[in-house]
């Protein structure tokens, strides 16, 4: 019996019914109330809701930080997380708004200022700014602290096995030494690792000159066969601990975390140059609760809160008033408290504009070689 593949009336109605249900569900889903966040930013006109949307790295606040703020101000904090500065920028640029406080790193603050996505800060609402040390005010990426306030800072140096290698000189040479072949780990970061080559050559970490960049690329290609790989700082840390690596290119906090209680490891900040980086608090345009955001920033700059923060994260604080309350053990770790002459040779990674793509291509070439 040949079945007619055209539809009978009953079937037609059933199918249309199903389609109708599907269609209306979707339309309901699509008709969300239009809370266009662009309208929320920075105006007076009524008190803000007691809410704050914090967008930060995971585990970058002490256990007491947020509950303390909530208790003190009655403002409910929602925390969300991003994993890199670039992710943060991409999301904000593509229109992902709703966040009140973000925590970008130095060069990213500069890029965000140039992209006009930050709200200027009202310093009258941040009296605790006076706690910030001289060395951390007016950094090149935001010379008048119009848009950012420092949060934590640190250096990028070399964590190594002192027991096996003995005390090393403050130099980048060991990272290029054939003696340690297969036991060296560099950072998988397209500014820090080319930066290390630039430092070694005596250039600026923000070099844009093609010749200098070519030299850096050659150095890195020379280095690659000696490396175990390019890792995250948090991966270099257990590798050095375990002995899989003898030397690891790391951020200071990672070094301090594994050095406390472990005399076998040491951290050096190489000559002639090394990076000092700073993470900052900013308020993106379109923030719905800018007033609360200012309150939060001010709260973080409180001496006690700043100390608790640093004692948890193991990075350095820009807050002079917090210094007396930092764990003694932490302060004594090599590379934590810096002498002025060490400070002077540290460089800040800045936005290099057009040259960013040169660095990106450089690093891709090296990794592909």
């Amino acid at each position: 019996m040949q079945r007619d593949t055209r539809i009978s009336r009953g079937r037609f109605l059933k199918v249309m019914g199903a389609a109708g249900v599907a269609g209306s569900t979707l339309s309901i889903l699509a008709c969300q109330p239009n809370t266009n966040p662009q309208q929320g930013g920075g105006g007076g006109g009524g008190p803000e809701e007691k809410k704050l949307n914090l967008y930060n790295w995971a585990d970058y606040v002490a256990k007491s930080t947020v509950p303390g703020f909530e208790k003190e101000t009655g403002i409910q904090v929602t925390q969300d997380f991003y994993s890199t500065n670039e992710d943060l920028l991409s999301k904000l640029r593509a229109g992902g708004t709703g966040y009140d406080v973000i925590v970008p790193s130095d060069y990213m603050v500069e890029i965000m200022i140039k992209s006009d996505i930050l709200l200027p800060l009202d310093r009258s609402k941040i009296p605790n700014f006076k706690n910030i040390g001289e060395n951390f005010r007016g950094l090149p990426y935001d010379p008048n602290n119009e848009y950012s306030v420092p949060y934590q800072w640190g250096t990028t140096g070399i964590l190594y096995n002192k027991k096996e290698l003995g005390q090393l000189e403050d130099s980048w040479e060991p990272m290029w030494s054939p003696e340690f072949e297969g036991k060296i780990g560099m950072l998988n970061d397209e500014r820090e690792t080319p930066g290390a080559a630039l430092y070694k050559l005596g250039y600026s970490v923000n070099a844009t000159d093609d010749e200098q960049l070519a030299e850096a690329e050659a150095e890195l290609k020379k280095q690659k066969p000696l490396l175990r790989g390019y890792f995250d700082s948090t991966q270099n840390r257990p590798l050095v601990q375990n002995g899989d690596l003898l030397l690891g290119h790391v951020f200071s906090g990672d070094a301090f975390l594994v050095m406390s209680g472990n005399e076998d490891l040491d951290y050096i900040i190489p000559k002639p140059g090394a990076t000092r980086w700073t993470d900052n608090m900013c308020i993106p345009k379109g923030a719905e609760h800018p007033d609360n955001a200012h309150k939060f920033i001010n709260y973080i700059l409180d001496a006690k809160v700043g100390a608790a923060l640093t004692n948890y994260t193991y990075y350095n604080t820009p807050n002079d008033a917090s210094l007396p309350m930092i764990d003694g053990a932490l302060k004594k770790l090599p590379g934590y408290t810096l002498e002025p002459e060490v400070f002077d040779r540290l460089q800040v990674i800045e936005d290099v504009g057009e040259a960013t793509r040169k660095y990106s291509r450089l690093f891709t070439e090296v990794k592909s070689s």
Binding site: A18, L89, S115, Q235, D244, R357
Partner: protein
């Protein structure tokens, strides 16, 4: 059986296809159009997009550095697919035919490890394969080696990691295809005097082809876009197309070029799949 098959459009067909059309139409094709538009645009240094007609992004793809990366990626994806097939088929066969009433549990057990974060499992592999890790210690204990071998952060570790990640993508469709298999066909073949191997190769395997094809597609395509495993288990010493595209969107802030790369990759892969499917015989995918 042919008359039952629908020819041309009917409302039943339309009903079945409406949901996917709306969903993919809105949430996949429209974003895809955005990306196509971007690929012909120009990205400023800070990511500002100027739309227009700029074929330059596509021309940049033909840079030897990038072509090498694409080539390498395809080889790795292909190898991965073959390995997953070799390792996954026996397991799917085992569960489908020898699983009995434990079938469902066995299949679930395959998937459960993948409900934990890949990051954690990658870190675990680093522990297992490191100099002092279980793998090396076992080898030394068994007397096979005297010194720790370099196991982790090697190309072999990346291969293993990829197989590890994508095995379920092969096992599930294979299982789905094998499980419907009528055991009587096998018995009939053996009654007629065929050996076990013969039965498998001439009866079982061909009938499982839809599963093989589906599994191959589900492994090959995502493998080509992989960017996490080479970093976590390979020490970032290999750059694959996935890493390249990520870098364009994130570090280089060159969405235009990144989009062009993505479109080229998609065209390449979809083209390859359509060719593969046609070659292997589209009827195998149909309910003829």
């Amino acid at each position: 059986m042919g008359e039952r098959k629908g020819r041309g459009w009917s409302l039943g067909l339309a009903g079945l296809l409406t949901p996917v059309t709306i969903w993919l139409g809105l949430f996949f094709l429209v974003p895809l159009l955005f990306i196509l538009a971007y690929s012909f645009g120009t990205s400023g240094i800070y990511g500002e997009m100027t739309l227009g007609f700029n074929p330059g992004n596509y021309l940049r793809v033909f840079d030897p550095l990038y072509l090498e990366i694409v080539g390498r990626t395809l080889v790795i994806a292909l190898t991965n697919t073959l390995l997953c097939l070799l390792l996954g088929y026996p397991l799917a066969y085992f569960i489908a035919f020898k699983g009995g009433r434990w079938k469902n549990i066995l299949i679930l057990l395959v998937m459960i490890p993948f409900w934990t974060s890949l990051l954690l499992r990658a870190y675990a592999w680093v522990v297992i394969l490191s100099g002092n890790g279980i793998a090396n210690r076992t080898l030394q204990f068994l007397g096979i080696t005297d010194e720790p071998l370099l196991l982790i952060f090697t190309p072999q570790a990346v291969t293993m990691g990829m197989v590890y990640s994508y095995l379920p993508f092969m096992i599930l469709p294979l299982y789905a295809a094998l499980e419907k298999f009528d055991v009587r066909l096998k018995e009939a073949a053996q009654d007629l005097g065929a050996s076990r191997w013969h039965t498998f190769w001439r009866v079982t395997f061909p009938l499982s082809m839809p599963g093989v094809i589906a599994g191959s597609i589900l492994v090959f395509i995502p493998s080509a876009g992989e960017f996490v495993i080479p970093n976590l288990l390979g020490g970032a010493r290999t750059v694959l197309v996935g890493n390249l595209i990520q870098a364009q969107f994130l570090q280089a802030r060159d969405w235009a070029f990144g989009s062009a790369l993505a479109v080229m990759l998609a065209a390449l892969l979809v083209g390859a799949i359509m060719f593969y499917v046609r070659k292997v015989g589209a009827e195998k995918l149909e309910g003829v």
